[in-house]
């Protein structure tokens, strides 16, 4: 456990080179996991992640070092390396004192009874999924829980601690129906422990629902690729669209490396007037919520696009320096082995004024998307569609399958021409991957209509 004066000493040594800022990030995290496959409990694991990340900045140049040896001597040596890397000076600059580090490292207190309760949930999920009557070729059900303790201290006098707890259930299944098979995974998590998760979700029900939906999808009809209007159901169903279509491209990393269509467009119209897009890391109870980001900055509501006008990027400290934009509590990382970068927390589209039934009725022929899979951002984004239905003559008709949506963000944003009145917050978040690793995020939206989107399907025809 590091003492106050030891942290002071490390930060001061790190800043003794040519630098104007130093920051120490300490992490101690315990994870447990239980999983079942092929009819029996096959794995129980426990993980202890422990280490430190040291960041030094000089203007727009950053140096980042990390180690899992958190002894004072090792971190002091790391700090000296950092100073060397910037070019050491003789006289360290004066800095403010930090408060003493609490340094509590909480152990995951799993008694045999605690593990048994969790194992019972894993077994119940497995049994429920296998009892659906669906032809399940392979199935894995899993429970996992993590408790992360962090301390962030920097040369500006900041000292913050945070303790974050997450628990998840997960099911990976391969299902067969109508002569074909599909692999898919589902995950539900909460920012809390086992009891928090169990009070918010029926795990067995969720697992059986997952395999039933997979079988329903296999029985659905393929679609011939086309360009049609697309309605996205409210909730997490359409949320992923905003995450992939614009979220990553509004992170300062993408702006800096020149791969975002939003470069140089702050203050300009980038979307229809119906679009107000927000990222907020402070909403209570959501998986993407944190008291502070991983640079110690308090999380907040960030309005990214307001009535179609680009207002802000998501900015971490380094991105803020390089682009000369304000930091806004978006510096995140998977763990201490990553330098933080600007990342999303909970991303959502603000509610609009259109009636949901009218939105569906407005479509003579098109697509109704209930849920999306993962996707990838880029100058052309793409998203896998999980659950969708064809709309015919203003009514939801038959289920369809094997679809991918893609497009250019700037074009699609301008085609959002209806936004529903009800915003449904949805905690079915997941892991989002980028330069600073995998972090928990959520994304949700009201029902929306996009006037035309490129739909790629597995149905084929000769032209």
């Amino acid at each position: 456990m590091l003492k106050k004066d030891e942290i002071d000493s490390i930060l001061e040594t790190a800043r003794s080179g040519v630098s104007d800022f130093s920051e120490l990030f300490l992490e101690d995290r315990e994870d447990i996991g239980l999983s079942m496959s092929s009819g029996s409990m096959d794995s129980a694991t426990s993980m202890h992640i422990h280490g430190a990340g040291l960041c030094v900045m000089n203007g727009c140049h950053r140096i980042y070092l990390h180690t899992n040896d958190t002894s004072f001597s090792s971190l002091k040596e790391l700090a000296m390396k950092a100073a060397e890397m910037t070019g050491a000076e003789q006289n360290p600059k004066p800095r403010k004192n930090v408060q003493s580090m609490n340094g509590k490292c909480i152990e995951v207190p799993l008694s045999a009874d605690g593990m048994n309760r969790r194992a019972a949930v894993v077994r119940d999920m497995y049994a429920a999924a296998m009892a659906t009557g669906v032809n399940v070729r392979s199935l894995l059900t899993k429970y996992s829980e993590e408790v992360q303790n962090i301390v962030v201290a920097n040369s500006d006098g900041l000292y913050e601690e945070d303790r974050r707890t997450f628990s998840h259930i997960r099911f990976n299944a391969t299902v067969e129906a109508c002569g074909s098979g599909e692999y898919d995974f589902g995950q539900i998590g909460v920012p809390g422990g086992f009891d928090d998760l169990m009070s918010s979700v029926d795990a067995a029900d969720a697992a059986s629902e997952h395999v039933r939906r997979m079988a329903d999808r296999l029985r659905a009809e393929p679609v011939v690729s086309c360009v049609v209007p697309v309605v996205f159901e409210g909730g997490a169903g359409g949320g992923v669209l905003w995450h992939e279509m614009c979220g990553h491209n509004l992170e300062t990393t993408s702006i800096i490396n020149g791969t975002s269509d939003f470069i140089g467009k702050i203050g300009r119209r980038v979307a229809s007037e119906k679009v107000t897009l927000i990222d907020d890391g402070s909403i209570p109870g959501l998986c993407g919520t944190e008291k502070i980001d991983d640079e110690g900055t308090k999380t907040r509501k960030n309005v990214l696009i307001e009535k179609g006008i680009l207002k802000n990027y998501l900015a971490d400290r380094f991105g803020s320096r390089r682009l000369n934009v304000p930091m806004n509590g978006s510096g995140r990382r998977q763990n201490y082995t990553f330098a933080p970068t600007a990342r999303m927390h909970n991303t959502y589209l603000a509610a609009g004024e259109d009636d949901e039934e009218d939105i569906i009725r407005s479509i003579p022929e098109g697509l109704y998307v209930k849920s999306l899979g993962g996707g990838e951002e880029g100058t052309v984004f793409s998203i896998a569609v999980k659950d969708a239905f064809w709309i015919k003559n203003g009514q939801i008709d038959h289920r369809v399958k094997n679809l991918t949506l893609s497009g250019n963000a700037l074009e699609i944003l301008k085609r959002v021409d209806r936004v529903g009145r009800r915003l449904i917050k949805d905690n079915r978040g997941g892991y989002c991957g980028a330069a600073s690793g995998l972090v928990e995020t959520t994304c949700f939206a009201p029902m929306i209509r996009v006037s035309a989107m490129n739909v790629a399907g597995s149905g084929t025809r000769e032209e």
Binding site: D31, G33, S40, M41, D42, S43, A44, T45, S46, M47, H48, I49, H50, G51, C60, H61, I63, Y64, L65, T67, N68, D69, T70, S71, M115, A119, R137, S180, E182, S225, V227, I256, N257, G258, T259, D261, F318, R322, T337, A339, G373, G374, E376, G378, T379, V380, S382, N402, T404, S406, G407, N408, L410, Y431, G433, L438, A456, G457, S458, E463
Partner: protein
């Protein structure tokens, strides 16, 4: 630190029959040059421990805390093992003569790496025909592992490797075009700036002035080697022994059957001249062997570890590993991962592959292969960028399209294999190589806006 574990292995807790410690360690330096300036410099070191026990069941634990008592970690793994019900108690390796392969490497000092990175960035930028922002990252790593167990087994190695990643972005009006290219090598001098510039330039050139239109339909298609690499970053799992065991690969039940065209030969090998990944032992201590997967289009094997090879009654190829795909947590169970996954090159360069097509498509860039390939069925819908081929020449750039099909059909319909082997890297984890050439495929369905 491993000394404490070696001592603990001699006094196993009650109920533990065998125990194994896998120590992974590395030292790494990374330099990023952006817009001609050094933007980011990193140094890191790591020494972590994976523990497995056999007894009541197979138990796992992992720690990065160097102060944690070794006996407690083993006890933690053993306790976790009591929850395992599966019959998989395939034992660990028996005693062999201890050995440690340490490939000595002085490595480059930081200022030398900065000089190399700056020089490479200048050269590559100078050779690209478009005006771009280039971000170049050079990574120097000395990494290894040691596997010891309660049977007296003690094997390890440490090897150097280098990875160079380039990301280029250029603007066309309101829109941005981007291209990336990553290679691994055994020394910094092995990186060829011409190779980087050619690939980035080719990919970018196919994005500008994308005014052409490709009607939806089936085409004879050339997939650039970077696109094939993207596909196989996910598709290598077809050949995983773990997937074969759970029948969640389209190759399940097809051993010794034709699953690809006769031109296709695929293997996974521990070391390759064009790759920085030189892996003599897997994470269970098995000596890594060359794994023949497809010979003249016939499926002849899978990548295996101790457990999968025992259950499938096949040879253990030394493909045990843990970090194969992106994961929110660190996977502790032992799975199967590639070392250097290779589709053997053919004899025709991409120009020749294209030159033999009257009317077709050239796919030069693809994205999001994690979510657009269903590895159980092999079905895919992959977003790409396409150009038209007319009378053997690439004519118009057509912008975004989606290629649709099945991985096994793709391999069966390959009617030519390029000579341009690209030895890429699994980008996010950077712990194995994927080496593939361009492929020409007849009847690939392409849908466009």
């Amino acid at each position: 630190m491993l000394r404490n574990y070696e001592s603990a292995l001699r006094h196993l807790p009650e109920g533990v029959r065998e125990a194994e410690i896998n120590e992974e360690f590395f030292e790494e330096t990374t330099v990023t040059v952006a817009d001609g300036q050094i933007a980011d410099t990193r140094k890191s070191q790591s020494d972590v421990f994976y523990v497995r026990t056999l007894g009541y069941g197979k138990g796992y634990a992992y720690t990065e805390d160097l102060t944690e008592n070794a006996e407690n970690v083993i006890r933690r793994a053993a306790l976790n093992g009591t929850f395992q019900e599966a019959e998989d108690q395939v034992g660990f390796h028996k005693y062999e003569v201890p050995r440690f392969e340490d490939e000595h490497c002085d490595g480059y000092e930081l200022h030398e790496m900065i000089d190399h990175a700056s020089d490479l960035a200048n050269e590559i930028t100078g050779k690209i025909t478009h005006s771009v922002k280039l971000e170049l990252t050079v990574r120097q790593r000395k990494a290894g592992q040691r596997i010891v167990n309660s049977n007296g087994f003690d094997i390890g190695y440490a090897k150097p490797q280098y990875i160079l990643s380039a990301l280029a972005g250029g603007a066309e009006g309101d829109y941005v075009h981007a291209a990336d290219y990553t290679r691994s090598a055994k020394t910094l001098d092995d990186f060829d700036p011409d190779e980087f510039a050619d690939s980035l330039d080719n990919c970018l050139s196919r994005q500008y002035h994308a005014t052409g239109r490709l009607s939806s339909g089936s085409y004879e298609t050339v997939l650039a080697n970077t696109v094939v690499r993207n596909i196989f970053v996910t598709a290598w799992q077809i050949f995983s022994g773990m997937k074969a065991l759970s029948s969640s690969t389209p190759a399940a039940g097809l051993l010794n059957k034709q699953i690809a065209s006769e031109l296709i030969n695929i293997k996974d090998i521990p070391s390759f001249a064009l790759s920085g990944f030189d892996i003599p032992y897997d994470c269970e201590g098995t000596k890594c062997k060359e794994a023949d997967l497809v010979r003249s289009g016939v499926l002849v094997g899978f990548m295996q570890n101790l457990s999968t090879s025992a259950h499938l009654s096949m040879e253990n190829t030394g493909n045990a590993g843990r970090r194969a795909l992106l994961s929110g947590s660190i996977p502790i169970d032992v799975g199967v991962i590639p070392r250097n996954f290779i589709i053997e090159p053919g004899e025709k360069d991409p120009k020749e592959l294209i030159g033999e097509i009257d009317k077709g498509a050239y796919i030069t860039s693809s994205s999001d292969v994690f979510h657009t390939i269903d590895i159980a069925s092999g079905d895919f819908n992959i977003p790409c960028l396409a150009s038209k081929i007319e009378n053997g020449i690439v004519t118009e750039n057509c912008g975004p399209v989606i290629i649709t099909g099945n991985l096994i059909d793709l391999l069966k319909n390959a009617d030519a294999v390029g000579s341009d082997l690209y030895m890429g890297v699994m980008d996010e984890l950077m712990n194995y190589g994927i080496g593939v050439p361009s492929l020409r495929v007849r009847d690939l369905y392409i849908s466009s806006e």
